[in-house]
């Protein structure tokens, strides 16, 4: 066993000496490799984190939301419809929701004005999302002035700010009472934006949705599962623009690996020839090159993955912020909760380490099986 270890150490010594000899070339390759793993792992960690965050936050969203459709567009729902839905077997409770958008010219952003189910602010007062408050420079006690549907200024006193730890769902939120909401948007009593349903048995959500559609065909029913799937689709199906950027790097690295795989430099071939002339057999040469590929790729993987982890969970993924931000003025501050997924780490490692090691071994095997005299004379 000791002999075997000493032999491998000897091979590794030669490998490191080889790597040192072509320092600039290997360092360049190593940096490109680290960058590739870093970006790939960042996209995967960020996508996973966002998907998990959306799933866990929306776990307590309304089980079903029913929208009225008029000519294929979302329309206000009369209170009588809520009663008709409430009469369906399997429906535990129905609540009319009141929410709408307001373009705030002062910050050039769309605000979401909503009436909470419970603990609504007093008349003339609002609760503000922390992002909006930060952008407008507002604190509790200040006045938020917005123009209503008739163009008249409406002054609301900021009663409280929503917890900054909930920014991911409340960045642009303005909570107000029902009377203020109706006066601001000019929506008469007995009309709601949509309806939120609670079902008796969560396993029957789909059946209840079908019953709603049968009773009120001019509606669209959105289940909590669909809300979750929407965000799965956003973060899973297309992991966004980062992958587009990454694809360029992937292509460049593939080119580099292909270049390495397509043949060794004359210097490397001569080196193999000398080693064989000195008594090394083909197995030794292969083992040395295997060590070289493994050392380079395992180190690059460990470093790239660690950097990706720091980027996503410690630094808040600043590389992806501009992509997600788009033209959104009110971009929330949020931190993703990490989750160690061994299968993800293993699959990422296999995806990045194995192809490189394989690509370097093929040409070495070809050279290692040649006669040393022939290799050196080339």
């Amino acid at each position: 066993m000791n002999t075997w270890i000493e032999r491998q150490r000897g091979l590794l010594d030669t490998t490191v000496a080889n790597l040192r000899r072509r320092k600039a070339r290997n360092l360049g390759l190593f940096m490109a490799y680290v960058l590739l793993v870093f970006l790939l792992a960042s996209v995967v960690l960020f996508g996973d984190g966002m998907r998990r965050e959306a799933r866990l936050l929306l776990e307590v969203a309304p089980e079903l939301v029913v929208q009225r459709l008029t000519a294929g567009r979302h329309d206000l729902m009369p209170a009588q419809w809520l009663e008709r839905i409430a009469g369906l077997r399997g429906v535990a409770a129905v609540e009319g929701r009141l929410w709408g958008y307001h373009h705030d010219a002062a910050v050039g952003a769309n605000l979401t004005l909503q009436v909470p189910k419970e603990a609504a602010p007093a008349a003339g007062r609002v609760h503000l999302g922390a992002t909006l408050a930060r952008l407008r420079g507002l604190a509790p006690g200040d006045v938020l002035s917005l123009r209503d549907h008739a163009g008249q200024p409406h002054a609301f006193v900021v009663e409280a700010l929503l917890d900054s730890r909930s920014e991911l769902v409340s960045a642009d939120l303005v909570l107000l009472c029902e009377a203020d909401f109706r006066a601001f948007f000019g929506i008469g009593a007995g009309l709601y934006t949509d309806a939120a349903l609670r079902v008796v048995n969560p396993l029957e959500t789909r059946t209840v949705a079908e019953k709603v559609l049968a009773r009120l065909p001019a509606t669209r029913v959105i289940s909590r599962e669909e809300m979750r799937r929407t965000y799965d689709a956003v973060f899973n199906w297309r992991q966004g623009l980062p992958l587009m950027v990454l694809s360029v790097l992937l292509a460049a690295f593939a080119l580099l690996a292909w270049d390495k795989a397509s043949g060794l430099s004359a210097e490397e071939r001569r080196e193999i020839g000398i080693l064989k002339a000195l008594g090394w057999d083909s197995g030794d040469v292969l083992a040395m090159k295997l060590w070289e590929g493994a050392l380079l790729s395992v180190l690059a993987f460990l470093l790239g993955y660690t950097l990706a982890w720091l980027h996503v969970y410690y630094a808040g993924a600043p590389l992806f912020e501009p992509v997600l931000k788009g033209w959104s003025v009110l971009y929330p501050r949020f931190a993703l909760a990490p989750e160690v997924d061994i299968s993800r780490i293993v699959s990422l490692a296999l995806l990045t380490v194995l192809p490189y090691v394989a690509a370097t071994l093929v040409p070495v095997w070809r050279a290692a099986t040649l006669d040393p005299d022939e290799v050196m004379r080339e």
Binding site: Q8, R9, G10, L12, D13, T14, T15, V16, R20, E53, L56, L57, L58, V60, A61, P62, H74, E95, R97, A109, N110, T112, Q114, P116, K117, E118, T131, D163, R165, E167, L168, V169, S170, A171, D172, L173, L175, A196, I222, T230, Y231, V234, R238, L241, L295, L299, L302, W309, L310, Y313, L324, G326, W327, S328, L330, L336, A337, P338, E339, V340
Partner: protein, 101 residues
């Protein structure tokens, strides 16, 4: 300690591998502490979702159909026709709505 002497190439390689692995393990171990802390923070968001009856993340608020992705009209983000190029950058992240299976 002579086994891991950095004078030999193999010793240097072992030190580099052990160092990188230790760094990765350290951040992974710290993950449980961080996850616990951020799960507590998430509780505030969940409480708000339950209290107000929210349905979407407030990530893309540049347009009404990107603010509430799950509530937007079918093909709202692609008003000319499904799959048309979107005007807003967020549109590149959200695909056209698909009917439920």
């Amino acid at each position: 300690m002579a086994l891991f002497s950095a004078r030999r190439g193999s010793g240097l390689a072992a030190w580099l591998l052990a160092g990188s692995l230790a760094c990765l393990l350290l951040v992974l171990v710290d993950a449980s502490r961080m996850a616990e802390e951020r799960t507590r923070e998430r509780a505030h968001g969940r409480a708000l979702v339950a209290r107000v009856g929210l349905t979407d993340l407030a990530l893309f608020n540049e347009a009404r159909y990107t603010r509430h992705l799950s509530q937007a009209d079918r093909h709202a983000a692609f008003q000319d026709h499904p799959g048309a190029l979107e005007h807003f950058p967020a549109g590149s992240l959200a695909g056209p709505a698909r009917p439920s299976p």
